[in-house]
Amino acid sequence: MPLYKTQAIVLKSMKLSEKDKLVTFLTETHGKVKCVAKAARRLKSRFGASLEPMSHVSLIYFGKEHQDLYRLNQCDIIQSFQDIKENPDTYYTAVYFLELAGHFIAEDHPEPEIFHLLVRSLREAGNTDSSGTLCRLFELRIMAHAGYTPRLQKCIVCHKEPKSLWVGFSYSQHGIVCEPCFDKEPVEMRIKSGTVNYLKKFLSLNLNHIRRLKIPKDVELEIESITHRLVLARLGRELKSYPFIRQMAEMTRT
């Protein structure tokens, strides 16, 4: 029975029988992995706080290859992100990241880029004041890593760079449509070309520089409706944690 050693982020942790826990990890080398942590609910458990969701851990587990459930052997904390968990403003955003990553990655399907994106985003969530911008960037990047990058460079109909102030966005074709082509391809939304520039920037921006990005409020709202609708289109349903982010944002505004 092979022994696997890797880094991971704890996505979810739930009670299993009397003393055990069923933990879902997003690992660096094996995608999403579910493990049974024996006696993890006991007060003196050797796993301690390492199985708390959001924790960045070093992991050793074993089991037959490609099985559904593995057995956890060792789990040590690399970074607990305790500051994020204790701040309601960042907590809900980080939980949304976990849920989104969990939906975009299949079990036993390695996606190291998404793993590193999640680690970097969690680190940044604790430092930045603009969790909304980080959220949009995460949504766009995770879709890009999963192969759903929206086509933002050229019009999806005429394949030319749009020159107009306004462009359309087609969710069915996953890209932008320039103003002269509006009658050829139905667009679900009209956005400013400046918003498209921000979206392009999101795809290439170094996460450490997100604090330098100052986005006008109206552009931010446009970006949110686009990225979130793209996520909805891919997943086919609303994520459970998303309404909590909206609620927190409204509470902060009032």
Partner: protein, 200 residues
């Protein structure tokens, strides 16, 4: 040989209970079949009783047979001290300690965004009303020290910010009889933060 339908039905029902699989359900069913009729009737009646007689206390949301519950009615208890817990079962865990003399407030869960459970699904508004009404001196937040429990505690602390009440959180850190060598950094940090002066 086929099993009688009544036995099959009982096995299926027992299998729905937590921690009971096919083998245990079969063993329990055959034990009940062999036992005296009076004892089986007694068991069935006690199971029915918990659904018919046990209700939730309108004051603390704990389980009780009388409303308000014994704890809420007890004049010897300190009704200006409220301990907030997640589930009705937690009341009995704290009561077993035998050292707490205040009353309780059961939240009936925790805020869990991953499961879609928000503050509106809990009894937080009742707690807020109770604190404002009773002139409460202190609210002790005794939710579990996990991610959901912490975020719920923080939410309640924020919710009660305007009220003139002391809000405290139960201590987190090393368990009695534990070993520092095996403690994780988060637990150790919490125990350092919550250190207390030794009175000599």
């Amino acid at each position: 040989m086929k099993r009688p339908a009544a036995v099959k039905e009982l096995i299926e029902e027992l299998k729905r209970l937590p921690g009971i699989g096919q083998k245990t359900a079969e063993r329990l069913s055959f034990y009940l079949m062999r036992g005296e009729k009076e004892r089986v009737e007694n068991l069935a009646r006690t199971i029915l009783n918990i659904k018919e007689k046990v209700i939730l206390c309108t004051n603390c949301h704990g389980i009780t047979e009388i409303d308000p519950c014994d704890i809420c009615q007890d004049p010897k208890r300190d009704h200006n001290l409220i301990c907030v817990v997640e589930e009705p079962y937690d009341v009995y865990v704290i009561e077993n300690m035998g050292d707490y003399r205040g009353e309780y407030h059961v939240l009936m869960g925790v805020i869990s965004p991953l499961d879609g459970i928000g503050p509106q699904d809990l009894t937080t508004e009742d707690l807020k009303a109770k604190v404002g009404r009773n002139g409460t001196r202190e609210v002790i937040l005794a939710t579990n020290p996990d991610m959901e429990g912490e975020s719920t505690a923080i939410y309640i602390a924020r919710m009660l910010k305007g009220a003139e009440v002391k809000v405290t959180r139960i201590a987190r850190g090393l368990p009695v009889g534990g070993d520092i060598e095996y403690a994780d950094p988060v637990t150790l940090k919490k125990s350092m933060e919550g250190r207390m002066e030794i009175e000599t």
